[in-house]
């Protein structure tokens, strides 16, 4: 039986951001932008959505004179990501992939 795919994660950019954050302890905005290739504005919107859902923690600081935004995945985010991957597997199993 199909498990429902979390709509918050089933978006290309949000899933990309979560995939980066699942494999590191923390990553800053520049790193996420470089890895995803998305625009700063778009990333900012998606980070806000993930943060509001409690999937990531966002902290702002300074690096020299420039502001620096650092993101970390939360336990809730890890659980949501794992559930999403499990749901994906159920789709792929049924399709025979």
């Amino acid at each position: 039986m199909f498990k429902e795919l979390n709509p918050l994660l089933h978006s290309e950019l949000r899933l990309g951001i979560m995939s980066i954050l699942i494999s590191v302890e923390e990553a800053d905005f520049v790193y996420i932008r470089e890895k995803t290739g998305a625009t700063a504005g778009n990333i900012s919107v998606q980070i806000d959505k993930l943060s509001e859902a409690g999937y990531i923690e966002v902290s702002k600081g300074f690096l020299g004179k420039r502001t620096r935004t650092v993101c970390k995945i939360t336990e809730k985010g890890v659980n949501a990501f794992e559930e999403y991957v499990e749901a994906l597997k159920s789709y792929l199993d049924i399709k025979g992939l």
């Binding site: 899933l15 699942i22 923390e26 800053d28 905005f29 790193y31």
Partner: protein, 191 residues
């Protein structure tokens, strides 16, 4: 976005992140290795030229110059590629923080009490190098670390200030050579 595309995106992002973190692993070895070598040359030639052992205080420039070099490298890296830290990065940072503090405290102690400081330093640097090698699973770095530890007996066989010169050369072999090889391998993986 379909299910296959989701899965491909996840694995691609994780793969890219791993590659990115491997890049530049050798820089810290190069910065600290070259800094220690240059300072040891400066101490050796200053003492040889003047006979004044107070030039030993030049050793305290090592953490200053090394930290400046590391912060320049980190700033450039962060500016262009952003910053990310995983468990391995944090472990290596903590290993060298402990080694650095131990080395500094030992050096301060050596200003008051005479003991074979260069041997202790080689032992500490060797331990740090071997632990780093084991953490990043890179045999050459592990071997370099153990060679460094073993070489802590070398200064006992050398008389006078030539010990300083030998210490610098051992640091060069223990840290700079693995640093260049690590960087070369990192670059090759990213091609």
């Amino acid at each position: 976005m379909n299910e296959e595309a989701s899965l491909e995106l996840i694995s691609q992002m994780i793969r890219n992140t791993r590659r990115k973190l491997e890049d530049g692993n050798g820089i810290s070895f190069l910065v600290w290795g070259y800094t220690t070598f240059v300072i040891s040359l400066a101490v050796y030639f200053s003492i040889k030229a003047t006979g004044d052992y107070h030039y030993n205080f030049l050793w305290f420039l090592t953490p200053v110059l090394g930290s400046i070099g590391m912060s320049i490298f980190k700033r450039n890296k962060t500016k262009h590629g952003g910053h990310a830290m995983n468990f391995i990065d944090r472990t290596i940072r903590n290993i060298w923080m402990v080694i650095g503090i131990a080395a500094f405290l030992t050096s301060v102690g050596a200003s008051f009490v005479r003991f074979p400081i260069l041997s202790v330093m080689l032992l500490l640097l060797g331990i740090g190098t071997a632990l780093t090698g084991l953490t990043i699973k890179f045999k050459l770095v592990v071997i370099s670390g153990f060679i460094g530890m073993l070489s802590c007996v070398v200064p006992f066989f050398i008389n006078g200030y030539e010990q300083i010169l030998v210490f610098g050369v051992i640091c060069l072999i223990m840290m700079v050579i693995p640093g260049h090889i690590l960087n070369y391998q990192g670059r090759r993986k990213n091609v």
